[in-house]
């Protein structure tokens, strides 16, 4: 089976089924925003949502993650996590799936990161395709992430009365087989899917004023652009943009001691290149001074450096950095300013 179909009335039955298989995380409403949470009641799951405050990264690259346990007297180390648990991410947008693909490349790159890979191994991804824009902040079309591009086990598309589900892995197939309410998709369903995709083309338009290869090229030329000064002037160095980014993975390590001051745990915690001590060494030299340079670095880590290294853009187009920015720094605006500057010259 390549495509399956599920009537919307049976969605909660399926969620109940998935919940029994593994820990199930899905989007739900929290005040006026959305978050990924473990599903207790199927009714809480909300599939019409704008990108959650934090991307599902918190499940496969936790904000604080134990690396190992230690004791100094005698010198001993031990594994901190005995077992990694199976879990399902449900209702993930295509932009966030692109984010997972990015982190896959990073942590698979030698020397590989066993913590990430162990978690990833236990993860099942069930995506949902967006049929309309979440809000004005997203730039997923320019990044090509408004449509599914792999990286998931199952992908659901809302066809009105029912969902059509693309089966992309054996792991995914196991979650839709043997259930009387999930059937193989009919030809009529497939026709409907095509029409939905066709209609989508009229809604989703590139948000940058130039195609992506031009964006890459502009970054090659914009190291000294005045745009960075402007962004730096507005930035308050809070680090929100990096915390909510699905492809930011910089971290710090932290030791915590028990009251005995002997035993403890070393963890890694999210860190942000926007913090002023991020590149400072003990001798006092700060190798990335100024908010302008630090913001520039963030942008280059999305549009230039990873393209050179992995042939992959690390901006997924989710729009979170713009949505969360206290100083109204807009990613679309910044990139377009760089592009416009080039046109003027």
């Amino acid at each position: 089976m390549k495509y399956a179909s599920l009537k919307k009335v049976n969605l909660n039955d399926w969620l109940g089924h998935l919940k029994k298989k593994a820990k199930l995380y899905a989007p739900r409403k929290k005040e006026n925003l959305f978050v990924f949470r473990q599903v207790k009641e199927a009714e809480d799951v909300c599939l019409e949502y704008i990108p959650t405050v934090l991307p599902p990264k918190k499940y496969y690259f936790p904000q604080k993650e134990k690396l190992f346990k230690f004791s100094s007297q005698p010198f001993k180390t031990a594994k901190a996590i005995d077992k990694f648990e199976e879990f399902i991410l449900f209702g993930v947008h295509t932009c966030d799936i692109a984010g997972i693909q990015c982190l896959d490349v990073v942590f698979r790159d030698a020397p590989e990161d066993p913590n990430y890979l162990n978690r990833k191994d236990k993860m099942t991804i069930i995506g949902i395709e967006c049929l309309k824009y979440c809000d004005k902040y997203a730039n997923c079309t320019s990044m090509g992430n408004h449509v599914p591009r792999g990286g998931y086990d199952l992908m659901m598309v809302d066809l009105g009365e029912k969902f059509i589900i693309h089966i992309n892995s054996e792991k995914g197939e196991k979650l839709v087989t043997g259930l009387d309410y999930i059937k193989e998709a009919s030809e009529a369903d497939m026709g409907l899917l095509e029409r939905v995709r066709e209609a989508k083309k009229k809604i989703f338009k590139e948000e940058f004023i130039a195609p992506l290869p031009n964006v890459y090229n502009i970054f090659d030329k914009s190291f000294a652009s005045p745009v960075w000064k402007d962004v730096g002037r507005r930035c308050v160095a809070c680090g929100n943009c990096t915390a909510v980014c699905p492809t930011c993975y910089c971290f710090d390590t932290q030791d915590e001691l028990e009251l005995s001051l002997d035993k403890g745990v070393r963890s890694r915690v999210w860190n942000s290149c926007q913090m002023d001590d991020f590149a400072k060494v003990a001798g006092g030299e700060d190798f990335r001074k100024g908010r302008d340079n630090r913001q520039k670095h963030r942008y280059y880590r999305k549009f230039k450096y990873p393209v050179d290294k992995f042939n992959r853009y690390f901006c997924t187009g989710c729009g979170r950095c713009t949505r969360t920015c206290m100083a109204d720094i807009s990613l679309i605006e910044t990139v377009n300013s760089l592009l416009a500057e080039e046109k003027l010259q």
Binding site: L67, F68, F75, Y249, C273
Partner: protein
Amino acid sequence: MLEREILLEKMRTTPYLPMKAKIIEAQMVTDKEKFFRIQLENKINLGHIPGQFVMVSIFGFGEAPISVCSSPSDKGYFELTVRSAGVFTDRLHKMGKGDEIGIRGPFGKGFPIDNMFGYDVMIVAGGLGIVPLRSLIRYIMHNRNDFGNVQILLGCRSPRELLFEEETKEWMKRSEIKFNCTVDRADPDWKGNVGLITTLIPGVDINPTRTYGVVVGPPIMYKFVIVKLLEKKIPDHQIIVSLERRMRCGLGKCGHCQIEGVYVCQSGPVFTYSDLKKFKGECHEKAV
């Protein structure tokens, strides 16, 4: 070779887990720097290349990247020289013979010792830069016939800050290497040169195409020394530097050591001047 494989396997499966190591010798060598001789558990050799670094762990205090200052030809142990400059290094300074610490590594790319085979070597060390360079110098001494003429230029702020005093005295005596030393500020007993390290470079006699210029020192020093080496007509790819950066993982992940798209902990800390020239503006050490 087997030991190297044990280390690599360890890195692959548990890259964050430090190995147990014991300090077998420790002494203050200046007011601010302490020297440590360290033995890994089961006395396995670190198997590093001169210029590589290790992550030193003190549980409860964290981890820091430290250059190895012994040569891989010094077997059964390795050595570090550490300046007390923060919470972690202050704590390390309080440790002594018999104390246990954690070690991960060796990490990064070392000096291109195989490429330097048969070439003349001109070493320029400023301040603490002599620490990683001592590893290279000792390696050259132990394999002296593999290299052409060797000269060492050493600079530091004052005679009191001169590291490896006994060894430098010996280097001065040895006829097969030339050794020159200068201090920024002399004291009454100082009989050597006074002035910045750059003042020593014009006077040295080299055959530039046959010479590797290896420079390590404080960030501010590089651009001035590199200019002098370029004036001497040493080709870009034969000017070698080692860069200091903040590091947390050593695995090319945590992001702290990045210069533009390059992770110093994996692609460095040793770079050629040709590498530095590719940076667009984030590399402080690049000569303009």
